[in-house]
Symmetry: C2
């Protein structure tokens, strides 16, 4: 990390002015269409519409996504092996109901070339609406005001509402508005170039594509106010129906034309527009999807949604939207006094969490939410490790939904474990339908830690919510089956002392693969095994009836919990006595050191410029691994260990994954690297807003948005939740006046306000016990508690070098040497090619 150039607000504020409650764009640019389409996406976790303009033209990707609506395809491995993933799963670009093309004097509005006298686009975090205001001077010199808005409802998951208002400001003109539903997936302008046709240019983070027609048209229909299209995905058999109602309000004369075919439904208004007489067209759209219900049935559901809006009026749903968001912010807002730019960016990130998860209901939260096709719409561990903390502490019912989503996936996970010759259940590394879709096992299936990540999120959820019912009835199944998997995956060695080993796995850091005793995997598996045993023992002791059911349901052996305890207690935890650090895996320190300072910028990220075999041979990290373990299992490490580990790994961590910065920030804060903590936080905060990884066009990095919340609450807020006790050891950044956030604990809402000299708690809805730097405090409603703070923890003002070979320097002038296992024998270990 180079703090010579610390990260500051990177946005061009002349184009994106600061607004604490909205993302606002005041001039149009074609240069970053992909990014802004992602940033201005509206969605509710079920339905997402990218920020394409109503006119539907210049675009990076016209995107409309329905969570889980995917097509499958046969993976063709160039060389096969037993157990390789066979079925590819890719999110489908759903038919686009956003389009409302505009013609004045038969000239189409094209933002890229239009003469725009005014332009503003606003994503409003309180209203949950995307608004655009344009004044266009047409080629014939007439001025037209176009106001539009777009909303995907948080309360009605199948509903989107759009409106366009066109007013001639000077003179009359014929105005045509063509409102459409367009199947872009199979349409001409949506054909993508397959990866393999792209020669040596590729990016494995992008989605692969289909070869033939994806959506079989099953129905197209229209009436005077309504149009509906219905489809069935060719291979997956999933079905989808989309419909739209239209209403026009104007004093001008107009006529309407309707039509539809397989890939296209259209309603055209031809209006004789007079100066000053607005034309307002409201379009209400509804999407319904299913794993296999006939299209005809989905069409009925679409009709019911549309009829309901017709009956209640759109204003009703706009009010519901505001109310829902008021509740959301009351539970989830994080306030940073005196930092309006940061405040705005924080709220954008939190708003994305709502947009990705609010109505995912019992679907998963994809890596890109419903904002893009990146990672093919797959669900990863991102949900459990990056998104779940936020949901658990701000919207526990959403956290519960996500856990139930995994519980529903158990049968597939059991099958997969069997295929991998393991007992219990093995969750897929990436999936939509529950089957493993990771075709590169070394960085996929080998990440067995996914099981422990899910178990971890479940246990934390239980502690935070006290939701015993869910745990006893269903959650325990996950704990038992994942513990079984680890107990079977590992094996015993007896070199004087019995020890439990887990071989041939990949940890979160994908720049090493298929290693023995990966520290992260082992500490997480230990937790998983221990908690499964404790949970079973607890049910046995307190709820005999449920225990009997449990034994029967899972064929639970009498001895299993004891086995899990044993494996957990004897789990191998790699530790290097000489360096006083935890190796990332048993043999990590044997590797050659990669000198990042000698790697030219054009060869980054490494994964796009070096063969995996080369990368795997070195000590170099894509993302936090030991450091993440020290966050999630922080009570298993001393502060000294954390600092030594952080100082060792930070300089060899590339951060090529967006999952890295937020975690580095949390541990940097804990161990005293305050400046680095803030810098990493900023790098996480602006991942998408400033397109720091160059691929925001593929969709929002949802895990990073969750990590932003974690960096605020856990990092600066110093919150920890080991063993179900919530404690605080704050690290407020130097320049910040205050930080306020809310967490929900067993139904009570706790407001935490952190200042440089104090931390203050208010609670609503119940009592809460918290710890602050070793002291316990009981917080009761209407009795705020303020605890004085003697500073924000130890400070190390120095920086860490870009490689342990070079050595960082602490503020006291001592050189950090932990990362230097041997003198360098070759100046440049890798020939950059």
């Amino acid at each position: 990390m180079n703090l010579d150039e610390p990260m500051t607000d990177p946005l061009d504020r002349s184009r994106f002015p600061v607004d604490p409650w909205a993302l606002r764009e005041v001039s149009y640019s074609k240069s970053d269409l992909g990014t802004t389409e992602t940033l201005f996406t509206v969605g509710n976790g079920y339905l997402g519409m990218r920020g394409n303009p109503e006119e539907g033209r210049d675009a990076h990707t016209h995107g409309t996504f329905v969570n889980g609506f995917h097509e499958t395809w046969a993976i063709r491995h160039a060389e096969e092996a037993y157990g390789f993933a066979r079925t590819g799963q890719t999110i489908v670009n759903a038919p686009d109901a956003k389009v409302m093309k505009l013609y004045v004097d038969d000239e189409p509005l094209l933002l890229a070339t239009a003469d725009l006298e005014e332009y503003e686009r606003v994503l409003d975090f309180k209203e949950g609406v995307l608004r655009r205001e344009v004044v266009w001077r047409t080629p014939s010199g007439k001025r037209v005001r176009i106001s539009s808005k777009r909303m995907v409802s948080f309360t009605q998951r199948h509903l989107a509402i759009m409106q366009i208002q066109v007013t001639m400001l000077e003179g009359d003109a014929p105005v045509v508005i063509s409102s459409q539903i367009l199947n872009r997936q199979d349409g001409r302008d949506e054909y993508n170039i397959p990866e393999h046709a792209m020669g040596k240019h590729f990016d494995p983070r992008k989605a692969s594509n289909f070869e033939g027609r994806v959506l079989e048209p099953k129905l197209n229909w229209y009436s005077d106010r309504r149009m509906i299209l219905g489809y069935r995905a060719t291979n997956s058999g999933m079905t989808l129906a989309v419909g739209a109602d239209h209403a026009i309000s104007t004093d001008n004369e107009y006529e309407q034309l309707n039509s539809s075919d397989d890939d296209y439904a259209k309603k055209v208004y031809r209006v004789h527009a007079h100066e000053g007489r607005p034309i307002t067209i409201t379009k209400v759209a509804s999407y319904h999807s299913s794993r296999g219900v006939p299209v005809r049935e989905l069409v009925d559901r679409v009709r019911r949604t549309l009829d309901r809006v017709r009956d209640h009026g759109v204003e009703h749903y706009e009010q519901e939207q505001r109310d829902w968001l008021a509740d959301f912010w009351a539970a989830s807002d994080v306030e940073i006094e005196g930092q309006p730019a940061t405040q705005q960016a924080v709220r954008w990130n939190l708003f994305q969490l709502a947009q990705a998860s609010a109505r995912s209901d019992q679907l998963g939260v994809a890596a890109k939410g419903v904002s893009g096709t990146g990672y093919e719409g797959h669900y990863f561990w991102d949900s459990e490790v990056y998104v779940m903390p936020f949901l658990t502490y701000t919207s526990p019912y959403l956290a519960r939904n996500l856990l139930r989503f995994r519980w529903n996936m158990l049968p597939a996970a059991r099958e997969r474990a069997d295929e991998l010759s393991q007992r219990g259940a093995l969750f897929p590394w990436r999936t939509i339908n529950g089957e493993e879709a990771s075709a590169y096992y070394a960085a996929g299936t080998a990440q067995y830690h996914i099981d422990a990540d899910i178990a971890y999120a479940l246990v934390k959820y239980g502690w935070a919510t006290g939701d015993a019912d869910f745990l006893v009835r269903q959650g325990v199944d996950i704990l038992v089956e994942t513990a079984r998997m680890f107990a079977d995956l590992g094996f015993w060695r007896n070199n004087g002392e019995r020890s439990f080993h887990i071989h041939g796995v990949t940890g979160p850091d994908e720049y090493t693969a298929v290693v023995n005793n990966n520290l992260f995997t082992n500490v997480m598996a230990r937790f998983n095994l221990e908690q499964a045993a404790l949970q079973v023992e607890s049910i046995k002791a307190t709820d005999p009836a449920s225990y009997v059911k449990l034994v029967k349901r899972l064929r639970l052996g009498e001895d299993e919990p004891a086995e899990w305890h044993d494996a957990a207690r004897r789990m191998t935890i790699p530790y290097d006595e000489a360096l006083e650090i935890h190796p990332q895996d048993e043999h990590f320190l044997d590797r050659e050191m990669w000198d990042l300072s000698a790697t030219p910028e054009e060869n980054k990220p490494l994964l796009l410029h070096f063969h995996p075999l080369v990368i795997y041979r070195f000590q170099v990290l894509k993302q936090a691994d030991v450091v993440l373990a020290m966050f999630l299992q922080g009570d298993q490490f001393t502060l000294e260990q954390k600092r030594a580990n952080f100082e060792y790994y930070d300089p060899i961590t590339t951060g090529d994954s967006t999952l890295s910065a937020v975690v580095q920030s949390i541990i940097a804060a804990e161990v005293g690297y305050h400046d680095m903590a803030l810098d990493y936080f900023m790098k996480g905060l602006y991942v998408d807003l400033a397109d720091l990884h160059g691929n925001t066009s593929d969709g929002v990095h949802v895990a990073s948005t969750g990590g932003v919340w974690s960096a605020l609450a856990y990092g600066f807020g110093g919150m920890r939740d080991y063993d179900g006790h919530v404690t605080f050891d704050p690290r407020l950044p130097t320049g910040w006046e205050s930080l306020r956030f809310r967490i929900t604990l067993k139904g009570a809402r706790l407001e935490v306000t952190l200042r440089q000299g104090s931390i203050e708690f208010r609670v609503d809805g119940g009592d809460v016990e918290v710890g602050v730097r070793g002291q316990r405090h009981y917080i009761r409603p209407h009795e705020p508690v303020r605890v004085q703070l003697d500073g924000q923890g130890d400070r190390i003002d120095g920086i860490l070098g870009t490689s342990p070979l070079i050595g960082g320097r602490r503020s006291d002038g001592t050189v950090i040497t932990a990362g230097v296992p041997e003198p360098p024998s070759e100046p440049v270990p890798v020939t950059p090619s």
Copy 2:
């Protein structure tokens, strides 16, 4: 290994009677068509024709192969990464000129259903001809004798000669013979089912297939006696022309019809056949191929080949064939007195070596030679490690061709090294055109030892032949570039003592992958580095002019040889002091033990029933790895080490690869397990003849045929060639009277006759020095030397168990414990699923 059921002659001798100079089949069976097609293949290393019947009907695979004639296709990785192989290469099924369909009374001859009064098929090892003799009672009750023969010329690589003779034995009949050239690759009856459409049934050892048309027709032409077809492979651009001349000899009246189209050329003889008047049709075919020469030019070459045969007559070429084979056997024959069945099988194996390599000229020798599509026609290390010893010592000019083939591939290997961020050259693990075609890098590209294997074969060739010219002009380039690769691939550590380490590689055993300090790789790399340095130093000292050219040609640094010496001397050689064995890799002994005795037979071979991640986690071997190193680098291990290593690894070696048994045999013989040595030899000897691995239908296991020779010469013959000195420490199997083989040393031919009490040498064409158990002997022409032998080395009569966990037992009753690192903690480590 279970010696309760030692391997004996497994052939059904009522169908395949013993014949020391031929493979003979006396009754037809449809049950093993794929196997017998392979066994009766005729080929010359350039052109191969599977043993399909002339009638061209019932077949497993109609196959005609031209070495190196391949199509390319874009590999589509389900998940991409930098440097992954991009171009698939697959041997093409060349147009089939074998077909001569026969109709009597308009009834086609169909062997599967025909009433055959006589049937014999013979592959004659002395004549190099496949003959068939059939008496067919037609459905109308007439008896017809059909004699046919087929030959692919060893002296004219582009030439095949076929003949069919039909004689009505009782009564007259209309006889139709339709002689064809048929493009089966794109034809209807040759469409294959793509792997990925086969669901969970797959075999990664089989070739993948094409999606569209492979051969673009460029020309079809016929005259009264001749027909020619010309093609261009769609993607690779390779071109091929095939033509055939016909002659008929008969006293019967007949008429002829000719035709041709894109995929088909045909000459039909309609004969009014009278009883006792034979019809003889001779078909002379020629294939020419090229990387890109226009088809028209290839057609001219076909014409020239055919014209030459027309001028000289087919008898001339049949005589050439016999002469060539007489020379071949004089140089290569291995005689085993009193073991006619074994003798026959040995000669079949040696004959396959001729058929795979004789006219490969400067193409490679594919894993299946020219006998099938297995492994997609790719060239592997099989050539250098399994085939080259035979060629080096019996046909040095063929060995030289194979080395030149690698030399020609150097530019591509340099590019590949660069792509893998390495200096020097990295040869592809599998290839036809020089580009890496291995899409599964863990068992492909990671086998960096390919470089050392090639260097090894080159050095041995140099020692055996004294061909300094080739070494100095070209061979040294290979040595230098491969040494550079290893010097750059490895790295230095300094833990008190400097040591050189090679990480992240896969050894020959593909049941572990991407490991550190693989013993085989390191000892072979050590040899490579050392020999490269010695060769450069020798040229510098003895041939300054060549040295100057060398420095310029390879930009050789002054210090490079010293660096290679240093790396070689300090190479890490894993050794376990406690077990007194060499671990297969640095962390091999940390792995859990796979209990093969607990693995049901239906779960073998393991690669078809377990995910690689599962297999990689265990101590279990697909094939000899340390054991192979102990053969190739035998002077680097003590006898005690060899025995301990063999006893450790043998029980956990599945032999799922056919490359294993022959090597196990050699080391078993050396360390004293005589019964096991013979048993392994038999398992290698009958790999194809008895279809022991169930996939002989895909083609001959050429490496195993080479291994059979090595097992005879090195194993039983006890020959070694360390440092260029040829020595013998024989191990004649108990039941064998004698073993006689020939080797060519610097132009002199040495005949070695081994008996239970003696070894005898005769030499022709020069003097030879050999060692016998520590004593040097000088052999001169016409002065045979007989050395008395006190037995055949130490004997260990016991067997080894199927797992070190169980423990084998030596003849002295002691249990072999080396393989028991710890008490078993779990009874069955892997759940067979």
